[in-house]
Symmetry: C2
Subunit: 348 residues, 2 copies
């Protein structure tokens, strides 16, 4: 799999450079399904480490994980006027199941506001049941015409936070708080500076009052939207009848927020830190931190060198077990490959 | 949400008892999509803890995580004769995307052998590239007619391991090893005794040489299939041209295995440990281990009692941070609810 041809430089063609880093670094590959990618172990390892940290930050701010269905009845999408207008043209639709045509087609979720707020309407009766602070790790599908590995794919992995609050103020506070969590993650863990702020009306999430975004500057001097949070107001709670009894005894619709980041962040990482030799990954997110390359001249040497190398790896790994995530060691004991070629191996 | 009506007893109606425990314990709920469930935070918390331990055990046995597309071209399903016969009747089919009819319908994955082995055929050239040891955490869809929360749902969450080996012996060893990992997990972490063994031909995975299963005995004296591993032989590698150059210079097809467990395990946990008061969860898997119920008589009391309760919670939580997963504490400070009702709250 080693590919000794030099990378296209960033200066020569940034877009070609990006694709080569992702493909030759074995982060991802094209799949037989148009616009869908395969995330290979090295790319998934980065995503996993991102997930672990984000998940910790979400829980630390009081959120719980849950899981809602992949399929959404088509009629649900239509209940919020702006939402259907924004997402309907991009949906994948299941029309047949178990060999039969379905009475109502099912949309493969492009995002889950509709199904989640329909369920919350069932669970929330009183202000005592609020706030509801839920997050979901899931795959979503948006039928994009032009796709790029990690940056824009038909199917992608993401997390979507969905919350319900008793007041507009609380919802606004949540949307801004999660923007801050994203910013902390991107700057502290990805070492990727971002500018946060409110999005323009044309870039607002379909169905939101206000959308906030984290914009990161890539090496080609273009901005990349790395994460967004939305104050949904009462738009979805009115569409799905998500009402609650207020503390003073009246009835009101809940105030919602949603927020998400996706596997696009892996692409952002590449475009922020990669150089003309390939990918560079901040230590916190690297699946492998330290590679041991054993060198030998004779078969006799080989046995002794490998034995010593394995002992070092095992010692370091045992140390890792005591302090999980502190040092991730890999012994590159592949046979029939020169050390030089191993040094050039693009370990993320 | 507290529901003071007594549970149906196991003796009276085991199936009704099971549904009540899952619904009233807020582990899961029915969704507006037939056969699809919503996994609520308490149920998802158990699944998350299962995932964390299984993931550790998979990595400890040399596997890496990756992610393959949700959609599979219909033609792929047809390449392995037994496989299509077994799965085609249960598929959900996407016929439209982005507002247009697709040239080739896409199947929502019921399992991922076909797409994964098609990709491995691209990545594996030589015996040096073997073994490939991959696992995927994903959602899958099987169009079942009769569904039960957790036990049998149209969409479910699972992990699917997929491996490629140079010899039949290695593949057989892998299928048996992962059966052992499942057994260790079910017995050691779920406290659920299982019987392992080879499945009959009629229960064999569609496309496998041999299927091994973990069968667990539920409290209604019925066996539940809790996990399976498959020696796929060369069936899929022949269908997808997954060949490699052998050490002696010839060409051979790779030997594959696959293995999976799903959110069904949450249902198995309920049916193994639940009693007529509700759910009981082994400590390793309980999202909450310790609940603090403050008791007060006057408002003055309340302030002091809550302050003390919060201090205890914070001390215990800080201790947890040092030894992650060792003690999970919850302070039930809900207002307007008697302590007695809190004791009866069905914390998993």
């Amino acid at each position: 799999m080693a590919d000794d041809k030099k990378l296209t430089t960033r200066a020569a063609d940034f877009s070609a450079w990006y694709n080569e880093v992702v493909l030759r670094g074995e982060l991802a590959d094209y799949s037989p399904v148009r616009g869908c990618m395969v995330i290979r172990p090295r790319g998934y390892g980065i995503w996993e480490r991102m997930q672990r940290q984000l998940d910790f930050m979400f829980k630390d701010t009081g959120h719980e994980n849950a899981y809602f269905p992949l399929f959404i009845p088509e009629s649900f999408m239509r209940k919020e006027a702006e939402h259907v207008e924004g997402f309907a043209p991009e949906t994948a639709v299941v029309t047949h199941g178990g060999g039969k045509k379905l009475e109502e087609p099912l949309v493969v979720r492009p995002t889950s506001e509709t199904i989640i707020y329909a369920m919350l309407a069932k669970w929330v009766q009183s202000y005592r049941d609020l706030p509801v602070l839920i997050n979901q790790w899931a795959n979503v599908v948006r039928w994009e015409m032009r796709t790029r590995l990690f940056l824009r794919t038909l199917e992608f992995l993401w997390q979507e936070g969905h919350t319900a609050h008793a007041t507009e103020h609380e919802a606004e506070e949540e949307a801004r708080k999660m923007l801050g969590v994203y910013r902390d993650f991107m700057e502290g863990w990805m070492a990727m500076p971002v500018i946060t702020g409110i999005k323009t009306d044309s870039e607002r999430f379909a169905g939101a009052l206000r959308t906030y975004g984290c914009e990161a500057m890539m090496q080609d001097n273009k901005a990349l939207q790395a994460g967004t949070t939305h104050n949904l107001g009462q738009n979805f709670s009115k569409a799905f009848d998500l009402k609650f009894q207020t503390e003073s005894g009246g009835m009101d619709y809940a105030w919602n927020t949603s927020w998400g980041v996706s596997t696009r962040l892996v692409g952002a990482l590449v475009m922020t830190h990669g150089d003309d030799f390939g990918l560079r990954t901040p230590p916190f997110l690297a699946p492998i931190e330290l590679v041991i390359v054993p060198i030998w001249r004779s078969d006799d040497d080989k046995t002794r060198v490998l034995e010593a190398a394995r002992a070092i790896r095992d010692t370091l790994t045992a140390w890792e077990r005591r302090k999980t995530g502190k040092l991730r060691v890999h012994l590159d004991d592949r046979d029939g490959m020169k050390p030089g070629a191993k040094y050039l191996r693009q370990v993320p």
